[in-house]
């Protein structure tokens, strides 16, 4: 789609550890609308391995993923687009 898309929410989970990194991300995704973007600042290592992968498992899309060294060493920025949750198991 043409035009700018600016994220509907932005969170910084660099000061917490897994699984709180994902819990906070999930809460942020809960609060925005379908198709909205959420920007997550996180640390490399476990959060970087877990958060985008878990987001995809839960039906969201990873729009971008890049290091942001000028925000601090080991900082990464992940942009997620909220998708519909996968159907619940019976």
């Amino acid at each position: 789609m043409s035009g700018f898309r600016i994220a509907a929410a932005m969170i910084d989970v660099r000061s917490v550890t897994c699984p709180i990194t994902w819990v906070k991300t999930r809460i942020a995704l809960e609060k925005v609308g379908l198709g909205d973007l959420v920007v997550v600042l996180l640390r490399e290592g476990e959060p970087l391995r877990n958060v985008p992968a878990t987001a995809v498992e839960e039906g969201h899309k990873v729009i971008s993923l890049q290091p942001l060294e000028d925000e601090g060493p080991g900082t990464w920025e992940v942009v997620l687009e909220k998708g519909a949750p996968p159907p619940a198991l019976p």
């Binding site: 897994c18 476990e46 498992e57 019976p90």
Partner: protein, 245 residues
């Protein structure tokens, strides 16, 4: 039924082990052994009934023993603040009448089952994850074991997905309570409601079912030829179902 001369080993004093310990204590068991190498963290307090705010940062085994003794002053509790490992697993199993496995990782669950078989003692296995739980008793010589059910732990090195770690305390309490109740039955000399039949319960539908667990032909643990393996000290592979407690 007087169980004051009976003893139980409970692996893990958390979401499953806690309710199981409380049930065993309430049922009049004379001696409990609690083994847990962890310390109490805030995220434990959504579901681990032995620990209060004041216990944050404390070793779980000791805090569990203190709480149990406060509720039942005559109870003998041995607190082992270490990992349940292959070096002492069989010796520990042999020292009690029943094992209850409330551990939160598959390598320990396999070790517990293997050691129980070697020592000839019954074991209650359980797991809870998100909205479902499972409970199974392994009765040596009668039923299948945890390896008959799962064959092998998932390969180490799989990073667990954060989304798998969900659990509500009430459901863990139900699962651990059922495990404790089953252990009491086994101690009383009864067959056990889940001996050879794994009980699986889904909280959303309220439906439970029993899954037959037969001895698998060639199961090395049932044959007594399975070498005992300790799990790695760091958090290990994501369980396929029902492990985190």
């Amino acid at each position: 039924m007087d169980l004051s001369d009976k003893s139980a080993l409970v692996i893990g004093a958390g979401g499953l082990g806690g309710p199981a310990l409380l049930t065993l204590a309430a049922g009049g068991v004379g001696r409990l052994v609690v083994i847990d190498d962890d310390r109490v963290e805030s995220s434990n307090l959504n579901r681990q009934p032995l620990f209060t705010e004041a216990d944050l940062g404390q070793p779980k085994a000791a805090a569990a023993a203190a709480r149990l003794q406060a509720l039942r002053p005559g109870l003998q509790v041995t607190a082992l603040a270490r990992r349940f490992d292959a070096a002492e697993a069989v010796e520990l199993a042999a020292s009690v009448d029943v094992l209850v496995d409330g551990s939160d990782n598959f390598p320990t669950k396999f070790l517990a089952s293997d050691a129980a078989l070697r020592a000839g003692k019954p074991l209650v296995h359980g797991g809870v994850l998100r909205t479902s739980l499972q409970v199974l008793s392994v009765v040596p010589g009668f039923s299948g074991c945890v390896r008959c059910l799962f064959e092998a732990p998932p390969p180490a090195g799989q990073v667990p997905s954060c989304a798998e770690a969900g659990i509500v305390g009430a459901l863990a309490g139900f699962a651990g309570g059922l495990m404790g109740a089953e252990a009491l039955r086994l101690l009383a000399g009864e067959r056990g409601a889940y001996a050879g039949r794994m009980f699986v319960y889904e909280a959303r539908t309220g439906r439970g079912r029993l899954v037959l667990v037969r001895r698998r032909a060639g199961c090395p643990a049932c044959a007594g030829t399975q070498p005992l393996e300790t799990s790695a000290p760091t958090a290990s592979a994501a369980p396929p179902a029902g492990a985190p407690a």
